[in-house]
Symmetry: C2
DNA sequence: CAGTATTCTTGCAGTGAGTGCAAGTTGCAG
DNA sequence: CTGCAACTTGCACTCACTGCAAGAATACTG
């Protein structure tokens, strides 16, 4: 569902195409020559756009290589979590919330996969990726503090947020290890199980 | 112990002083005018050094504001962990290892505290800090894979590494919340307890 | 369909981070 | 004092990134 969704609007379609073209060019060139030997100008003109336009789409070269974009959760999932649901048990509800984020996390599997591979060769990209990840966690934490009024918890927001982030990332890694089998959220229970296994060791 | 330790060597002393002077200047100026309205040149000359020398000490402006430096663990703690000790139970040994890192993490409490405050005002610094944090976790993960030969575990390195990172950060946050009471490692058990509390909810 | 509003692209000019190099300075050992 | 190694500095340079204003493409209205 995320990979498709073709917009009828001509403007939206071009926007999407240009965005993908920039990511494609960035990943290809960086894969060939390395992150520091490719300039934004080269990426832009490979995608048939001006350097200036590149920066209308991405905040930095690194962001384009990773294909970074804002993600969120469905309003209903959000509302349910904030009001103390769906089960009322924090750990289970956290799982549902993280699953909600994962549903929107991978707009294009091929590009995501290439981004993963590039991160191995270019450690700086890992850092950028984690910075993005952190923004997602910050959003999770905002929901947490809203929920707190409906259903208090003895555990710090910090800790809960970090656990949520851990689950998000562990699921994505497990998904990648499986060769992108099913969707990312399907690997969430596995991540939770691993975490429990470690703690109960 | 970390704050003091004056080196007899004149060269080492100057190096330390210059480093601290750069951090001090960076934090002061950024606190007054904001991260993007202070140039490296201003920081450098406020510290009585050239711009070029600034980059002999730090990789970036952000690093100087955070006072980022490489940290590690004592060789003995490292060796013990790698060979499967000290207790043989992974979760406990992980705790010992994280404590070993925490012992070296805060060379100067005042500057660390100011860095924390600046991170609130400048989100970019949080990202940089997390990137640094990630380097520490990467080192932890290297130790993990070494240990694995001595004492295998059913839990992924990724997951263990993330848990270690979580404990590192949660301890630091708890330490900060306590007003920097005792040393950072003293707050580790609290972090572990919180984590267990959440999982067993 | 014509005309207008809106949104997006682009060139331009500029700031400032960060780097390699080579020459000077400073502390150190014999 | 002399030669050595480490460190600092200025210089020239590349390139990421930004604001601005003009122009092009697209959407909207009657």
């Amino acid at each position: 569902m995320p990979t498709s969704a073709p917009p009828s609007n001509a403007r939206e379609r071009q926007k999407r195409e240009r965005r993908l073209a920039l990511i494609e060019a960035a990943q290809r060139l960086v894969g060939e020559r390395g992150l520091d030997d490719v300039t934004v100008e080269e990426i832009s003109s490979a995608a048939g756009l001006s350097t200036r336009t590149f920066f209308n789409y991405f905040d930095s070269k690194d962001d384009a290589v990773l294909g970074i974009q804002e993600i969120g959760v469905d309003a209903e999932v959000r509302a349910q979590f904030v009001s103390g649901g769906p089960t009322g048990r924090l750990m289970s509800d956290l799982e549902a919330l993280v699953a909600g984020f994962l549903d929107h996390a991978a707009p294009n599997i091929e590009q995501g996969e290439r981004a993963m591979r590039l991160m191995i060769a270019e450690p700086r990209l890992v850092q950028r990726h984690i910075a993005w990840h952190q923004r997602v966690v910050a959003e999770l934490e905002a929901l947490l503090s809203e929920r707190r009024t409906a259903r208090p918890s003895p555990v710090d927001d910090d800790t809960i947020g970090m656990v949520a982030g851990l689950l998000l990332r562990a699921s994505a890694l497990a998904w990648a290890r499986s060769g992108y089998e099913g969707d990312a959220a399907a690997h969430l229970p596995e991540a939770v199980a691993q975490l429990r296994l470690l703690l109960d060791d």
